[in-house]
Subunit: 200 residues, 4 copies
DNA sequence: TTCTAATCGAGACGGTACGTCCCGTCTTGCC
DNA sequence: GGCAAGACGGGACGTACCGTCTCGATTAGAA
């Protein structure tokens, strides 16, 4: 996160310590979840003083938010462009399903969302890092289909985005079923057909 | 929930106290959210000893889970049966949107879900009290449409349920946009057309 | 210290806990001294939560100050009244020497005095509980001698008080020699003769 | 103390840095007292890195002990020798009073003494630098009086030393009254008369 | 004058203690 | 026996220093 040096001489947060903390924090998150992760245990586990944590982040919330954001940011979805809507949709749905199914996310996803209700900075982060890129990818896929004439010009692409993301996210994160390949295929079919019906 | 008398003696949990606690708890939930609601503050706010809380519920989780469950249970969605799929869907979507938009739910919804990741009892409660009835209502609407021939016999009704619930929930709880009437209409159109495309 | 009950029902600081803390605190004082005594260790040693300490005293300083004050207050010097100045002086000096030599006092006396430099409440406490009673006892002894004609009417009794207390305190607390019986006798002689020389 | 050059290279502890630290340390001592003086604040105040302090002294105790010792050493009392006991005593008492009244000493005196209880090196320093020279001066004054026949040969000069130092120290450092000139005169009278009475 | 090694400011490091807040349990005396 | 009040042991929070260590920049004696 930081680690860029200051103007003159001066101390700098050490990469090794940051890495040890990061590793310990994710291990705790995986073991006890977002709410029960404690700074004290993270520090102990990383073999580090509590101050090393607070030198990097101003609070527990900030630390977890930032660590998770960085990890999520590292896995942006590519935008498929096969030239066929159904194929593009399937590829996108498969990618998103894979990212949502990551053990970390299923473990802490809801906790993050909950925290976002209180913490505007976290909410903004989730929007910009998690939601926006996926909405953008979905929008691009749909817009391509409109350009190629696979979807009518008046199709409600905003609704289309919701259809791409919401049912899958719901299934994986809330219902905690995995959404098998067949599910994805039928979802892709439904999205395509459904969107055609939304043209003004 | 309780307030049934115990076996011996004449002592019974007093209704007035239970009500004061309930009121205070929801007030705290609304003000500070699920995670930051503390038993200490609820007791103080209710003008009640902490023991009065623990006499009724075994833990903070249990108390909040139970209180919220009772409140949610009180607002089960009716199953519309107008004889026309699109009308039924619109009615159902409107009802669900109304319930999801309740200030309490937007405030603590994600927190509940997060806690459910750790707390199996809460997860089970949410499934049985929140999800199942709404899935059942959606299923009944869709099944009626199949019976009337509005949907083909092979339509994937499980996916249909997701389409009814997920995009709307996502919009209201995550995106925090309200999903206006026009959104509901297009969504209803997309569900109907989409489901027709899922027949084997 | 406290332990008097509040008006209605209500919790009360438990005597047993207070005693355990007191015992642990004096044990720590004896082992590591005033400055290095820590609340954390006192609590651990007493088998008590830190909060139990802070419920009784608002800070470490306050706790130690109050505990020590109470212990000191319990040992007020009696005022000897044998009718002979030299005998009275010897008795008083012996008593004071005994109290100053208590292991606790030699261990923490200077620390208390140091803290008093910063802490006006402590300073006032030391003055009223430690100094004033001893000054009063000395003054009474000397005034009796004036009344009986053993000392001239113009003798400087304020100086007399200093002569009774200071050399002995200095020897025991600073020089850390004990001031044997012979020392006390010569000191008594010097005080008597010295005071006679201060009459205007 | 230091500032002598090392074997190789050109590096030497820089005088300017040492001076800045010294000045900052005494400023902190004066402001917050012995116990609350922190290395961190001294370094910051001196515009110096913490390492600069630890390069010169091995610990906070050592640093403060050494700095204070050097400052005290600079103000040894001269031994008056007027040929008349009472005059010598008055001169000595006046000098000692002046030194004890120095703002620094009244601020940190008790703290030093307290620390000396734990820290043998500090205790030894105080004895050799503070106490011993003053005892020696007092002893020389008294011995001269014995030689001149102003005091009997058997007079208890050890007690005499206590009488010179203790009441005055007590008044200035503990009672925090100043001991006016009249007090010194009566004290001198009392010492002279008192000592005459201690001859075997 | 150039080289070179220790000192410099800055502050991160692992630790220990501070004083606070909340958990879920326990105790007290009133009703 | 329920009740209000709140003390209890325990654990985590975020802060302040301790004495040590790490950086790159400075500085002054030796070559």
């Amino acid at each position: 996160m930081k680690d860029e040096r200051t103007a003159t001489g001066g101390a700098v947060l050490r990469q090794r310590v940051t890495e040890a903390i990061t590793e310990a924090a994710f291990a705790e998150l995986a073991e006890v979840g977002y709410a029960r992760t404690s700074m004290e245990r993270v520090a102990k586990r990383a073999g580090v003083g509590k101050a090393a944590l607070y030198r990097r982040w101003s609070s527990k919330q900030t630390m977890l938010t930032e660590l998770i954001r960085d990890r999520i940011t590292a896995s942006l979805p590519p935008t498929p462009a096969t030239g066929v809507l159904r194929t593009d949709l399937l590829a996108l749905l498969t990618t998103i399903r894979g990212q949502l199914s990551a053990p970390l996310l299923t473990r802490i996803g809801a906790g993050l969302l909950a925290e976002a209700g209180t913490d505007a900075a976290l909410a903004e982060m989730l929007e910009s890092v998690v939601a926006a890129p996926r909405r953008a990818a979905a929008l691009e896929v749909l817009r391509g289909a409109v350009d190629r004439g696979e979807l009518p010009p008046g199709a409600d692409l905003e609704l289309g985005i919701d259809l791409v993301i919401a049912p899958l996210a719901f299934r994986v994160l809330v219902t905690r079923e995995d959404g098998g390949d067949e599910y994805l295929e039928r979802l892709a079919d439904a999205i395509e057909a459904g969107l055609k019906a939304t043209a003004r």
